[in-house]
Subunit: 282 residues, 2 copies
Amino acid sequence: MKRIAIQGTLGSYHDIAAHKYFEGEEIELICCANFEDVFAAVKRDSQTIGMLAIENTIAGSLLHNNELLRQSGTQIIGEYKLRISHSFVCLPEEDWDDITEVNSHPIALMQCREFLAQHPKMKVVEGEDTALSAETIKRENLKGHAAICSKAAAERYGMKVLQEGVETNKHNFTRFLVVADPWQVDEIRRHPHPETNKASMVFTLPHTEGSLSQVLSILSFYSINLTKIQSLPIIGREWEYQFYVDVVFDNVLRYKQSIAAITPLTKELKILGEYADGKSNI
Amino acid sequence: MKRIAIQGTLGSYHDIAAHKYFEGEEIELICCANFEDVFAAVKRDSQTIGMLAIENTIAGSLLHNNELLRQSGTQIIGEYKLRISHSFVCLPEEDWDDITEVNSHPIALMQCREFLAQHPKMKVVEGEDTALSAETIKRENLKGHAAICSKAAAERYGMKVLQEGVETNKHNFTRFLVVADPWQVDEIRRHPHPETNKASMVFTLPHTEGSLSQVLSILSFYSINLTKIQSLPIIGREWEYQFYVDVVFDNVLRYKQSIAAITPLTKELKILGEYADGKSNI
C-alpha cells in the first residue's frame, strides 16, 4: 500500500491524477490543505510520496510549486498529464433556477470565466478546493449553492451535474509531478523500473551575452532535447536569472555526461529528478 | 491628450501603471472589463493606446495576454514595472471586528493567501477588479465588507485602510506592456523618442535536438542578450513548441541583422515590438 500526499480532498484533480498514475496499485491518500503540507508529509515520513500540479496549459506554471520543489530536496520520480474538465454541480433536488452562488478553487473559477460571465447573477465565492466545495454543499445542505469540480467529485458526494465541460478552453491539461524522499527514490520507483528518459533541472546564469546559448549548445552536442524552458528573474539579484529546464534523452550515459559538461558553466545547478516521460489520459 | 485603454477601473493597478508610464502627460483612461476589450479599443480607434499586465513575479506570465497580444497585431511600444502592494480596506465608519466578507480580483486574493489564512472567518468573494471592489462597497454602503486593493483606490473611493502591505510576498512586481496600432507606432511614441534597446518576439521551432540552441547561438554571436524565455507547447501540434523571447541590445543594426539571421531557422517568427527597456518604480 503506497501512501500518497496530495493537495485537496477526495475527488479532487490530484486524487484523479494519483489514481491514474498508480493505476492497478493500492494507494492511500493523505489529503493536505496546501502544497507546503504535501512536502511536509514527505519530509515527515520518507515512505510517503507527494503528487503536485506543476503547470497547466491555461494557467501556466505554478511558480510557487517550482520554488517549493527546489527548496524541498525531494526528487521527481514521475509525471502525469491530466485533461481537466470541470462540471457545474448542485444538490440533487435543485436545478438551474435555484442557484445563486457558485463555489470553487480560484484557479478552477478562472478557467470557467466564460461560463460564469453567462451567469452574471451568481455570486462567485472562492473555496480551498474544487471537490471540497461540492462536499461542503452536500454536507451542510447549502441550498442555492453550486460547485465547480470534477465529475468524479460530483459522483462521490452525490451531487447533481447540471452541466459538464464548463471550462472556457477545452485544451485544459495539467501536468502533475510525483515526488519522493531522495533516499527512497530507488525503493519507491514502480516495478518494473520505468525507463528513465526525462530530467528536470534548475540553474542560475549570469545575465551576460550568450551564457544560456552555451549551455543549450552543449546539451544539443550531447543529443539532449529540451521540452520546457522558463526563465525567472531572481528578485534582489538583478543580474542573474534562474532557469527551469526539462529535457528528454535516449541515452542515460550521454545525459549524465552532458550534466557534467554544463555544471562548470552554471551556478547552483540542481537536478530535480530523473524519471520516465509522462503517461497521460490525453 | 492621450487615450489609454486599461483593464479595470480608476484606482486599479493598471491606472497606476498608466499614470507612472505617461508621467507629466495628460491622459484619459478608457476602462475596460477585460483584456479582450482593451485590444478591441485599440483596434476601434488607432489613436488609442493599450496598457496590459503581462507577467507578475508571484503569479507568473499571463499566458492569455501573450496569446491576445500575438493575435491582435498591435505592437509593444514600451513597458513599465510596478511594485504591487495591496491594502485591506473597509467603509470609513467600520473596523476589524465588523468585517465578515472580503472582495477582490482573484489574482489579488491569491497574492494575499497568508493574510486571508490568518482571518479564516472572512468569506472570500471574487470580484472583477481590485479597485471596483472598493468602489462597490462604498457606493452600495456594504457593511461588513472589506476590499483588497491599492492604497490609491482606497483614497479615491474614500475607504479606510485597515492594513497596508497584506500581500504574502513583498517581492510582488507586475510588468505592464504599452501597445499600439502598428501604423501609429511612430506617431504615438513618446517625444523625445526613447532609445530602442529591447524587443519581444514569438516563434515556433520543431521539437528536434538543438533547434533552440542554434537560434540562441546566433543571437549571442550578434551580441543580443536574452532577458526572458518561455516555452509553450502548442496544443494539437505535439512536435512543435512556441517560444516567447525578450532580448536587449546596444546596437539596433546588429539586432536587425540577428533577426534576419534567425528567421530562416524559425517558423512563424513575429516581432511583438521594439521599445525602450522599462522604467520602473522599484
